[in-house]
Symmetry: C2
């Protein structure tokens, strides 16, 4: 476990807590490290969860099977990412997704009770961890709300407009660079890549915008 402490140092959960304090906190937080072989389940849909998890090594997929058995991959978890934190509330019900190891992986488990209940004053940085946890879930929240904003539009054009519009506000310029290539943008907005490319072409022809690769200019 100790050899993976440097990884924890760089995570959002332990931001601002020095290495030397992390080792001390591990026991206070009830930390356990569990290793998974490629293909093994880390979490299963329908289980209850009482730990907050941090991926220390490897990579994971979040996936889901529906009532009729169709499987889809919802997302990816990389080293240092926090997950499971939205399902540890007493009334959160069971997990809705499976989490599976894409390669051999190691996961830290932190008992939520020991995380959110500040322990004795021995552990000065405990409060900071609780704050970090709150900020981390806040950040996820903001990302979800934004995406939902784009996705609730009916047409590809409207999705593009709302997305680019938001980026322009965020980057405070009508000339913006986006962090996606075409396929990724299409996936993000849940539309077909070629249809989206087509629509971008039309919008350019109509003088709404210009673009080159992942750089856009709005008019």
């Amino acid at each position: 476990m100790e050899e993976l402490v440097p990884v924890l140092k760089r995570t959002k959960l332990f931001s601002g807590v020095g290495d030397e304090n992390i080792s001390t906190m591990l026991s206070c937080l009830g930390a356990r490290l569990i290793k998974y072989k490629k293909g093994e389940y880390v979490l299963r849909q329908g289980e209850y969860l009482s730990d907050i998890l941090v991926l220390a090594e490897g990579s994971l997929h979040i996936q889901k099977d529906d009532y009729w058995g169709n499987r889809s991959i919802l997302g990816h978890i990389g080293v240092g990412e926090i997950f499971g934190e939205a399902y540890v509330a007493p009334d959160s019900g069971t997990l809705l997704n499976d989490v599976i190891a894409v390669e051999d992986s190691s996961v830290f488990f932190f008992d939520v009770k020991r995380v959110i209940t500040t322990c004795s004053s021995a552990c000065r940085f405990h409060t900071m961890v609780v704050q970090n946890l709150f900020f981390a879930i806040s950040e996820k929240n903001r990302g979800l709300v934004q995406k939902l904003n784009y996705m609730s539009r009916r047409t590809t054009r409207e999705k593009l407009i709302s997305y680019l519009s938001e980026e322009a506000k965020k980057q405070n310029s009508s000339s913006i660079t986006i962090p996606f290539n075409r396929q990724q943008l299409a996936d993000y907005l849940s539309v077909d890549r070629s249809a989206m490319s087509n629509e971008l072409g039309k919008m350019r022809d109509e003088g709404l915008l210009e673009f080159e690769k992942n750089h856009f200019r709005l008019f």
Copy 2:
């Protein structure tokens, strides 16, 4: 302010904290009560926020104007609801939406620093409020993830299938009751009501499901 304490008692933020303790906590949390006339802005897009808010009276709309000036209403805040909590992190940037009073309203402001930094032991219930806050944002998170799940499907049929499928799992039965009428369900899934009604009809004809009003049975 005191006359609105009974409202706070029934909110998720103060769940488990007795009335008598709430009054005591208000000062410890740096609470302020601000009243708004109908039509006034409570929050503006582009502002930084350092308070967690709870609506005590009235009702609010969350709305948004895009780069080209089109306005849309994203949601509604009712009495007792917590809002703004996702934008108080130090690196959360500015607000993405406006919040406006639909009728005369009163809003409690709690300084986030005083909420998440546990105060001296005088305030036994402070820890509980922090937990409640975390659980509240968790709950929002889960709702957002679910909705995103449904909305990321390409066709109305797939959206319906994923939604009903999830409800069936949640209610642990193939016979389910949903909390929406047709228009609300269409709005929730961001599709056209009549097209959705049409699709439901086809799915029934194909033997995938049966329904009557807001009760569905899956096969």
